[in-house]
């Protein structure tokens, strides 16, 4: 009897132990599973971040590798005699006479004289096409600047045509497969490049044309000066309008506004405008400013108006945050000393909130500098060769210039587009880092 009880008890105890080990095993399995899932989750987070950073790096390396070539330009040193007979000019010729002279045929003759072995019509045309089509104009300007060079022989640094330039920079002298060759030159032209390069006449220099010229149909003559000036003018208008208006709005809403329906309505409007797609502001500019008020198209003044309306919410929201951060004790102290409400705000709150407001303004300006869509609609996409001199001259801006160039089929324009993007990104990075620096340097914490 006792024996059987003992056996029963021991089986029960054994059972219990078994259950326990089973449970412990189960738990161990579950713990492993849970730990694995924890690890998986962490890796998912790490991979997401890695993906984001990889995108940044890929974007930048892609743009830089595409655009770095545009910062150099190929030049060819060619000896040219300013032949008095061909041009019908001499060192005493007046400017009008020089401008009337036929530099086009002179230039072609000079090239033909250098390469007397080239005879066929097509070959000759290909020879002329080796250099930029503006070469006669450049020669003429040289003579206008200094008529005494007539009759002398000079070594002219000629600007290579974009096809020549691209070939020389990316394919010439490199061991490339047929498929990797980037060349739109004919065999004869490639031979010419080869002989010129071997004679040491071909040079690549830093491309100053990119920064001193405006838009052009010829890639080798196209530059971003006009676009940069247009961007600066547009931004100046935007800044001059949006900063005072935004600061005034922020002050009003934070310090003076009574709590009523109108104030609520203003706040709702500002929050909604912050989320309106930028292209809608283009429609507004077109329908209200151009059609209703009859403002001229394509001018920085109009662009500035549209961008002001677009950036206002951004600046207002950050300015309000800056004003909110000023502790009430400062206001109370000023009021207690007998200052009026306006004096308190202007003398005490505003200076303390200024760093935050400026940071917000710079970020808003950076946003305005990169904006394209609304400006397309108000006609800032025009092909403009002249550098704008005022806010009522037709102009284009840097992002729009990028958009225009990206449409061009020439490979050289892809390079120029990427270079323009690099310039734009440099501006933006400078502005944003300045904003960050300003915030770190000047912002006080209470």
């Amino acid at each position: 009897m006792t024996n059987s009880t003992n056996t029963e008890a021991s089986t029960a105890i054994n059972q219990l132990f078994e259950d326990r080990t089973l449970l412990a095993k189960k738990r161990a399995v579950a713990r492993k599973r849970r730990n694995r899932s924890e690890q998986r989750f962490r890796w998912a987070g790490r991979l997401s971040i890695a993906f984001g950073i990889a995108c940044v790096l890929f974007l930048f390396t892609d743009i830089i590798s595409k655009g770095i070539g545009a910062f150099t330009q190929t030049y060819v040193d060619v000896e040219i005699t300013f032949d008095q007979e061909t041009l019908g000019l001499n060192s005493q010729s007046t400017e009008d006479e020089i401008k009337a002279a036929s530099f086009g045929s002179f230039y072609k003759k000079a090239l033909r004289d250098k390469y007397p072995e080239i005879t066929g019509r097509t070959e000759k045309r290909q020879l002329y096409a080796m250099f930029t089509s503006d070469m006669p104009l450049i020669l003429r300007n040289m003579v206008v600047a200094d008529p005494s060079i007539m009759g002398s022989t000079k070594i002219i640094s000629m600007i290579a045509d974009d096809d020549f330039d691209t070939y020389y920079k990316h394919s010439y002298g490199r061991d490339l497969d047929e498929a990797e060759q980037i060349s739109r030159l004919s065999d004869m032209q490639e031979g010419l490049v080869d002989s010129l390069a071997k004679s040491g006449a071909v040079k690549t220099k830093f491309n100053t044309i990119l920064f001193t010229n405006s838009d052009s149909r010829e890639p080798e003559l196209a530059g971003i000066k006009g676009a940069i000036v247009g961007s600066i003018l547009t931004l100046l208008v935007t800044l001059a309008l949006s900063f005072p208006i935004a600061v005034a709005t922020a002050i009003y809403l934070e310090e003076f506004a009574p709590t009523n329906r109108i104030t609520d309505f203003i706040e709702v409007n500002i929050n909604n405008l912050a989320a309106v797609p930028s292209v809608i502001f283009g429609l507004l500019g077109l329908a209200i400013f151009i059609n209703f008020f009859g403002m001229p198209r394509s001018v920085p003044l109009l662009g500035g108006f549209v961008l002001t309306l677009m950036t206002l919410p951004t600046i207002i929201i950050s300015s309000r945050a800056a004003i909110k951060a000023v502790p009430p004790s400062i206001r109370e102290a000023a009021l207690g000393m007998g200052a009026s409400k306006v004096q308190t705000v202007i003398h005490h709150v505003l200076p303390l909130a200024m760093p935050g407001m400026l940071t917000g303004t710079i970020i808003g300006m950076a946003q305005a500098l990169g904006e394209t869509a609304p400006l397309l609609m108000i006609g800032m996409v025009a092909f403009i060769v002249d550098v704008p001199t005022g806010i009522t001259d037709p102009a284009t801006v840097l992002p729009v210039q990028i958009f225009l160039w990206s449409d061009s089929p020439e490979r050289a324009f892809v390079e120029k587009t990427s270079a323009a993007i690099m310039v734009l990104l440099t501006f933006l990075i400078c502005m944003n880092s300045f904003a960050v620096w300003l915030r770190k340097r000047l912002e006080r914490r209470w």
Partner: protein, 475 residues
């Protein structure tokens, strides 16, 4: 005299007024025992005088420049010959522009007809009068205003009240610009849309499945009528936005979770700004990237896949056709663009979940990921949904990426490898370049704009409501 010189003169004049006001207040202070016996500080007297001089002159210049064009126009039109009065509005506008061309020396009066000579003369003389009178009047108003201000510089008159009142009014006017902007947007898109719906029935627009906005110049040309069915555009927009969200939401959300829950503050301070760079890159750069790098790459891989499918007899793969302007390329790049947007919004929401919830969950033995998945995520869900809605509205309204990387042909398809077009692309292509304001083609852009405005506005309102309701739970 041009406008900027006039403005400079007005500014200089008011600076002089400030100086005079300041000296005058000191002058009147002397006999009564110094500045402290004035009702307020000299700077307030000076500011008051400046405002008296500045504001009326500026208002005059502003209204004059806004109104003079239309007033001169109507005066010139009244001197048109009798038979011109029966012309339609558009013809009158045409004649008016010819008249102004002749007046500025382009073209000759003979083309227009001698009977318009008085109109041309009138235009010339009126413009000359307006150009001469405006600066003169502005300066007069400036001087008069300054004189009024000067008279108000009295020891007993508290100029501070005036100045502060004007300051308050100015602040209010600046704040109401936001309201005017919204009204401006609504009216500009609404009016043109109403014109559009007079030409194209509303339901044809909303339910039509064919979009080809080309209106022929002659009635007998092929496809003369043009059709404005918006469905293909909506499908295209949604397709691209969906691809973008499929990339941005998981990546943005997971990086936000990792950064706020796992990462050390040092990692966070390095990684977060790096991700924010993506938000600062202009959209035109993304567009260029999408069109020149991503789209060709996708096409290339698609072609490789097709060849591989053809080699291995996989039927559907062998028929794979990737368009060079695929929705996929635009969608992927747009997704990358809105990653930081999603991640910073979710970051805010996750950080707003109170620590006590986390502590409770850890106390019950949950691992960190279990806490996140089962406690924090549900608690933050409304905020995250709000963030996703905002991201969706951003994606729908995004313009440059799709203009540069998506196509123009309005295909009704959900295949991400084909070219689709979006609402914003159509707005831009319809409005860039020369337009006439009464053609259905141009007006269609405004109808699309109205559509876009309403959709994004609705998404934002819903998103803000959702976020707001959630925030109230823990505050």
């Amino acid at each position: 005299m041009n406008l900027s010189t006039l403005l400079l003169i007005i500014l200089a004049g008011s600076a002089v007024a400030y100086f005079i006001g300041y000296t005058r207040s000191q002058q009147i202070a002397k006999p009564i025992g110094g500045v402290r016996n004035l009702a307020t500080l000299p700077t307030y007297y000076a500011s008051m005088m400046t405002l008296w001089a500045l504001i009326p002159a500026l208002l005059l210049v502003f209204f004059w420049s806004v109104l003079d064009g239309s007033i001169i126009d109507s005066l010139v039109k009244s001197s048109f010959p009798e038979e011109a009065k029966q012309f339609s509005e558009e013809n009158l506008g045409l004649i008016m522009s010819q008249v102004s061309n002749v007046a500025s020396g382009i073209g000759s009066i003979d083309v227009l007809g001698q009977e318009y000579a008085p109109a041309v003369d009138r235009l010339v003389s009126l413009t000359a009068i307006s150009q001469r009178a405006m600066p003169l009047l502005a300066v007069c108003v400036l001087v008069l205003g300054a004189l009024m201000g000067f008279r108000a510089v009295r020891a007993t008159n508290n100029a501070r009240y005036t100045v502060e009142k004007i300051f308050n009014v100015a602040l209010f006017v600046c704040s109401s610009i936001a309201i005017f902007t919204t009204f401006g947007i609504v009216f500009s898109v609404l009016f043109e849309s109403i014109h559009f719906f007079q030409k194209v029935p509303f339901f044809d627009f909303l339910l039509g499945t064919h979009w080809s906005p080309q209106i022929a110049i002659r009635a007998d040309q092929a496809g003369a009528s043009g059709s404005f069915g918006v469905i293909p555009l909506i499908v295209g927009t949604l397709l691209i936005s969906l691809i973008a969200l499929l990339i941005a939401v998981p990546v943005g959300l997971m990086s936000a979770i990792y950064l706020s829950e796992y990462a050390t503050s040092k990692t966070r301070s390095i990684v977060k700004p790096m991700l924010e760079i993506l938000a600062g890159v202009p959209t035109v750069v993304y567009g260029f990237f999408a069109a020149l790098t991503v789209a060709p790459a996708i096409r290339q891989y698609g072609d490789k896949l097709r060849d591989w499918g053809a080699d291995n007899d996989i039927g559907w793969l062998a028929n794979l056709a990737v368009s060079s302007e695929s929705a996929l390329a635009a969608g992927i790049v747009m997704g990358v663009m809105i990653i930081p947007f999603v991640s910073s919004l979710s970051d805010d929401v996750i950080n707003a979940v109170p620590q006590s919830l986390r502590d409770g969950s850890y106390g019950l033995g949950a691992t960190q990921s279990e806490t996140i998945k089962k406690v924090i995520f549900p608690a933050a869900l409304p905020g995250i949904v709000g963030g996703v809605l905002l991201a969706a509205s951003r994606a729908i309204g995004e313009t440059m990426i799709v203009v540069m990387a998506a196509g123009l042909a309005a295909n009704l398809t959900v295949n991400p490898l084909e070219a689709v077009t979006t609402v914003t692309v159509q707005i831009v292509t319809l409005l860039v370049g020369d337009q006439e304001f009464d053609s259905a083609k141009t007006l269609a852009a405004f109808a699309l704009g109205l559509f876009l405005f309403v959709i994004t506005l609705a998404l934002n309102v819903i998103a803000l409501k959702v976020v707001k309701r959630y925030r109230e739970q823990y505050d």
